[in-house]
Symmetry: C2
Subunit: 239 residues, 2 copies
């Protein structure tokens, strides 16, 4: 059923970055696909993965697939028991709380650094806020969360510590799964926009104390919605 190919595993995707041609590594592509699928629950918590089946579905061999899975294990999103099986980890509230701590610590510190910058250009942030307003108006949760991500990343960029944002990504996926469950409620979105606005206002005013308080509330909101979501999707949660 594989597409016809002349070479052992056919042509590999080529992408042009600047002048150099880089071959997209199968391992990376598979990781991105799996991570995306886990994040938006197409691979729901508790789903069991079979390396051979997955390899067949994705038209790759087990080697790059295993490397991708190893990265997911590192991030705590997948657990693999030798000779038994591989499965997507259930949502554990303790993990979510740890991720909340990580995120709040980083954002709080990044906000403080960004505030100390004498020139604080918040136009990008304002644009993203407007985008969120627009998505809220047309009921586009996916677009909303994309702008949400971009807004928080922009704060890290302004602080100069974008590396922290990157290392946080695997841990943050524990929060993203919860957020995904609480997607379709417009009330929540309205609240998030207001909180974002308050954070941006505080940043523009250089008010560290107020901003940190808003960030803390913002980060803890996810945890507040957790119990209700757990009652709604009991199979997705552990403990």
């Amino acid at each position: 059923m594989k597409p016809d190919r002349h070479l052992p595993n056919g042509t590999r995707a080529l992408a042009s970055v600047g002048r150099v041609r880089v071959r997209e590594r199968t391992s990376d592509r598979v990781y991105a696909e799996l991570a995306s699928a886990i994040r938006d629950l197409r691979l729901p918590p508790g789903a069991s993965l079979s390396e051979t089946d997955l390899a067949e579905q994705l038209h790759v061999s087990r080697t790059p697939l295993r490397e991708a899975i190893a990265r997911l294990v590192e991030g705590g999103l997948v657990s693999v028991v030798p000779q038994v099986g591989t499965r997507v980890e259930l949502i554990r509230l303790s993990d979510v709380e740890q991720a909340r701590f990580v995120r709040e610590s980083f954002e709080s510190a990044a906000f403080e650094v960004a505030c100390e910058n004498p020139v604080r250009d918040v136009t990008v942030l304002r644009t993203l806020l407007a985008e969120q307003e627009r998505c809220w108006g047309i009921h586009d949760p996916d677009g909303f969360f994309a702008a949400d991500e971009a807004l928080h990343e922009q704060i890290f960029t302004m602080s100069g510590y974008r590396g922290a944002w990157q290392v946080m990504q695997p841990m943050k996926m524990h929060l993203d799964r919860i957020r995904r469950l609480s997607l379709p409620e417009p009330e929540t979105l309205r609240l998030l926009i207001d909180e974002h606005t308050a954070i941006v206002d505080a940043l523009q005013a250089g008010n560290v104390t107020a901003g940190r308080a808003h960030i803390s509330r913002h980060a803890r909101r996810v945890l507040q919605t957790a119990p209700a979501l757990r009652a709604q999707h009991p199979g997705f949660f552990a403990d």
Copy 2:
């Protein structure tokens, strides 16, 4: 030259944890060895690694070795260019600064949480301080840094956010390499002990502000020593 073995790759190490026998995965063992070697500079910055050579030296095949290397790449300690080579990343001050930010953010936040705990048992921390005093007296830098690590980890344990400590490990190795370079100076060790003592005192007193200030100074000290170390070992640094 391989040790005689009857099975394809011989006996695998068995460890007894509680009642269950767990087979130590070759991939994990290799990762631990490589990470340790990079941390204490037995694999110095810039060293080029050959998968085939390394596999032969460690008596493993390339598959588990590659998985271990993939984890190191994830942590930013190794870079691999397809069809060209694999090498230990040079020490980049920008990476060190990012790691400093990560560590300071975490420790600061964890300290704050630990301070809010009404019962703060600092006996473990005091014991570790005494151990550092002892190691300083007998000029045992390795023992000193082991106690150093244990002390900082204990603060995270007391905060309840040990998960943050764990996710920080790969990033922290960028700092550890710098610390390793500044090992043999007793003056530095004396200074570190004093700072540790100040932090523990602040924790016992529940003084959040003072503790955060000490932690910040403590974390930034590594960066202060960096320029001198760079002049001493120019080949280890990038840029």
